[in-house]
Amino acid sequence: MIDVHNITKRYGHHTAIDRVTFSVAKGEVLAFLGPNGAGKTTTMRILTCFMPATEGTARVAGFDCTDHPLEVKRQIGYLPETPPVYQELTVTEYLTFVGQLRGMAGPTLTSALDQSIGRLELGAVRHRLIGNLSRGYRQRVGLAQALLHDPPVLILDEPTVGLDPKQIIEIRELIKSLAGSHSVILSTHILPEATAVCQRVVIINKGRIVAEDTPEQLSARLRQSEKISLTLKFCPADCETKLRAIRGVLQVLPGQGGGTFLIECELGRDLRDELARVAVMNQWGLLELRTVSMTLEDVFLQLTRHEDHSTETTETTVSMASPENQDR
């Protein structure tokens, strides 16, 4: 449904996104994950034909974003970072305007309006001026706008910002329910959100894609060692040395609270029974023993932190390349 191939966007000397390539299948929900300023919004703006890419091609539903912008725009429902609402209009007036812009009229428009208002539970405020609504309601009006014409492709820039926890869950459920019939790209920097609603995650940092996979596989792939948390009731001075002496243990780190250790062991080796045996034999009073799996949060931090080391090289390449580009 969405095909992005090697797109680059430069603002003068600043490269906002650098050779980004990804694709979204029909009915798939893809999360765009990255710290602020990573290039998520820029990518979305290119896909929605708000601005053209400096290089590369982006296609939505088979239409090229540069050559057939009107066709692309018809296929897309877009929620920008700030909900694009007019404060002087009521919710109904605003959504009617949005429908008219999309060429809807009469009963089609009325039923789309009712459906969209129902989906986002805006019934109670439908005749109120948007300017008098709270941030959460405005965000929902923005979402209603994107869903109004039931587009095959939805592009949502941080859809749950400004909502309360209950609403966040409702919106996530809504997005999940759209999967299958709609292709959705949503950007977020809230990691549980990506795990909760998306089949696939693209992590972007400093304008480049650093990882792309399912949430589970991402954390599995990036796990370089197994980690086991061990809590003991008694820990004599030599217990750390004894733990380290077990075959396969790489490192023993003090964990949170007294008597807790974080034991790092070689990949693919489950040392839990061995650790239990040693603990029982030495009568340390084994309280807890469990494996620690890496959360998406850890993956994310690891990936983006890892990037920092290579930043310098990236930036020199960019500045070396730019005079050449200006000549062209």
Partner: protein, 256 residues
């Protein structure tokens, strides 16, 4: 309903929900009324003077004494007031981030520019329409020729359309409404002063050419009751040029 109609409807709705139209309209009508009152008062005083000198009832020409002066004075009023009406058109959309929404909706930039221009032009026509009360009331008490009044109104409509298109352009170049108003104010005054620059060159080709660029002589001819094709061409092409430039500016913001 076409996208252009949708934009016109939305703009009109916002104009009437926000206080701009009421404030600008009130000031515009107040000044028009005051000026009419003053010019009628002056005409009356002159009539009394003439009566005392001649000793009989004097014939005064309302077309010359009232309407020509009134239309001439409206130039400066329009220069000051119309930028306030147009300043929000694009600047507000950019400030509120609805600009991105408009440009990602399936409509052409031309639709947006034309829709916005037509909406503000309709409001201006409404205000100008209300001012016809003044000649209608004067008609009850005196006799005058309606033809120069119609051409005067045509002049005011054309001049207003040109000013609104300049204001629309100024609004597209910035996201600050005050800056937008000030830019259009500055542009309108500059085009006004070009007439003075032209007269410096005297009766030469260059002088005529430069004067032609200013709206002054074109408007004056219409107020005097003359309809000249070259004046209509001037207003028409000026309007199209400004709308075209607005289109380019809106389009180019996407490339930045």
């Amino acid at each position: 309903m076409t996208p252009v109609q949708a934009i016109i409807g939305k703009e009109l709705r916002i104009y009437f929900v926000s206080p701009i139209v009421y404030v600008v309209g009130a000031v515009f009508l107040l000044i028009f009324g005051l000026l009419s009152y003053l010019y009628v008062g002056f005409a009356g005083a002159q009539a009394i003077q003439l009566m005392q000198m001649q000793g009989g009832p004097a014939q005064i020409n309302l077309n010359d004494l009232v309407f020509r002066n009134l239309f001439a004075s409206m130039r400066i009023v329009l220069v000051i007031i119309l930028p306030i009406l147009t300043m929000r058109l694009f600047a507000e959309e950019r400030k509120l981030r609805t600009f991105e929404f408009l440009l990602t909706s399936p409509l052409r930039v031309t639709d947006i520019v034309v829709g916005k221009f037509v909406s503000v032009f309709v409001i201006y026509l409404g205000l100008v329409g209300l001012t016809t009360l003044v000649p209608t009331i004067l008609m009850l008490f005196s006799d005058f020729d309606w033809n120069p009044i119609w051409t005067g109104y045509l002049g005011m409509v054309l001049l207003g359309a040109l000013f609104l298109s300049v204001g629309l352009f100024a609004s597209a170049v910035t996201e600050n409404q005050i800056v937008a108003a000030f830019v259009s104010f500055g542009m309108l005054l500059t085009i006004w002063l070009i007439a003075g620059l032209g007269s410096l060159f005297g009766d030469t080709t260059a002088g005529h050419l430069i004067s032609y660029l200013s709206y002054m002589e074109h408007y004056e001819r219409l107020v005097r009751g003359l309809i000249d094709t070259s004046d209509l061409v001037y207003f028409g092409s000026g309007l199209v040029l400004m709308l075209f430039l607005t289109h380019r500016v809106v389009e180019s913001t996407r490339w930045k």
